[in-house]
Symmetry: C2
Subunit: 275 residues, 2 copies
Amino acid sequence: MNAQPTTPLGTLYGVGVGPGAPDLLTLRALKVIQEADVLAIPRPSDFGTSVAWSIVKPHVDSQPIADTGAKQERLFLTFPMSKDPDILVPAWHHAFQEIQSRLRQGLSVAFLTQGDPFVYSTFIYLQEKAREMEPLLNIEIIPGVTSLSAVPAAAGIPLADGQERIAVIPATYGLEELRSTLRAFDAVLIMKVSSCIRGVIKVLEEEGLLGCSTYVERATSKDQKVVHDLTQIKGDRCVYFSMVFVHKKLRSGVLSGKTSHGKGLQAQVHQEVVQ
Amino acid sequence: MNAQPTTPLGTLYGVGVGPGAPDLLTLRALKVIQEADVLAIPRPSDFGTSVAWSIVKPHVDSQPIADTGAKQERLFLTFPMSKDPDILVPAWHHAFQEIQSRLRQGLSVAFLTQGDPFVYSTFIYLQEKAREMEPLLNIEIIPGVTSLSAVPAAAGIPLADGQERIAVIPATYGLEELRSTLRAFDAVLIMKVSSCIRGVIKVLEEEGLLGCSTYVERATSKDQKVVHDLTQIKGDRCVYFSMVFVHKKLRSGVLSGKTSHGKGLQAQVHQEVVQ
């Protein structure tokens, strides 16, 4: 009889740590982060700084060693800022192997993600890999405050109300698609504008939407920047965590009878009150 | 000389209290809620229960009276579930007057909103009124976890990755618009499906999307319900806080070369790694 006693797998947590401000962490995320055996922390290079870690560090740095006497491990994992599969795939593979070896020792692993683990996050790929390699693994998602909330709060402009429609698009999707989306939707969040900023501004200008567009970078962090006049943005590149928020406000307001589609909606109440 | 000493206006906070679970409140929201002089709490009727209050109550109910000796006021405000301006406008007017009288006494008021104050929230109307009536008022927005994060977490399905596009639409917008949105976007969140559920299911069936649609009600609350097979939904009405989440997953995955638009994207890495 060679049956070995098997250690049950530890739980893998995908933890949304919010958009940037350390106090926009949720109570649930804080608890998981403080109790996990291992914090898995993504960073853009072996020597780069991790935004997720800068959010979490104030909450765990002065923590005493856990009740068990075991010290929490901080496992930094490098995910290069690249689109090249020859670079990315090995990085993901390596990251998963590191996490897997801890899970197999029965340790719980909290993988930190800026914003939310299910919204444009590296965690999505790790989860896919985990489901394939460890079908019995328990995965818990801790939703977080995303930039979809943080950017409107920073801009001081509501995202949407009543019957307004929202679109979220990565700028890299293509500028023609951007144009049709801008025409069809009331509120548009254009993500990852970084190297596309000039093209985005040009389309907004041609569509007559510069006046209702706001540029926000690093929302809610101490380095937050909000620009309401997009003509003030110079240069061909912005930081990675930047977004342009367009809100036409043609159909907002509870008693508005206007429509951006020219369909002549009757003056009516658009809002069902959300408590 | 009749100049009266004037009390500075108190601050008005729009506080997002998250989607339903009390521990999905942020640290910042908790602090504001515990320190505010007045909690303004929306409810659907004079005798109705407030979802926002059910989230916040566990955190303040056993709080001792504040350091000042003053007891925090809980100001319940009724916003009827109606589309009739003759009912709604007086309700908003009354709510703002109640809040304004506290602000003018120099008291801070935290207005609770389920989810986020700038995402389909009554607070948007109150803020508009406040800006008009009290131009010098300091308003602070505390962003919260929204159902846009909570629903994918509850369903166990990522919202979007890589170059995927997201649309958020209230079902009441019209079913033809729903059809074109479903065709153009990778991930679609259909909000407030309540009385439109049969029409929504019919459109999803006709578009061949039932297999990638999930129904979620009261995400993250103790009464959360997730239905992956929409044909199991009977009846003509669902609860108000319900959503249908459609995710085609045709373009997700980092090495996917597929596209829902048939444009023959080259096999390429869609993901810029988000740290």
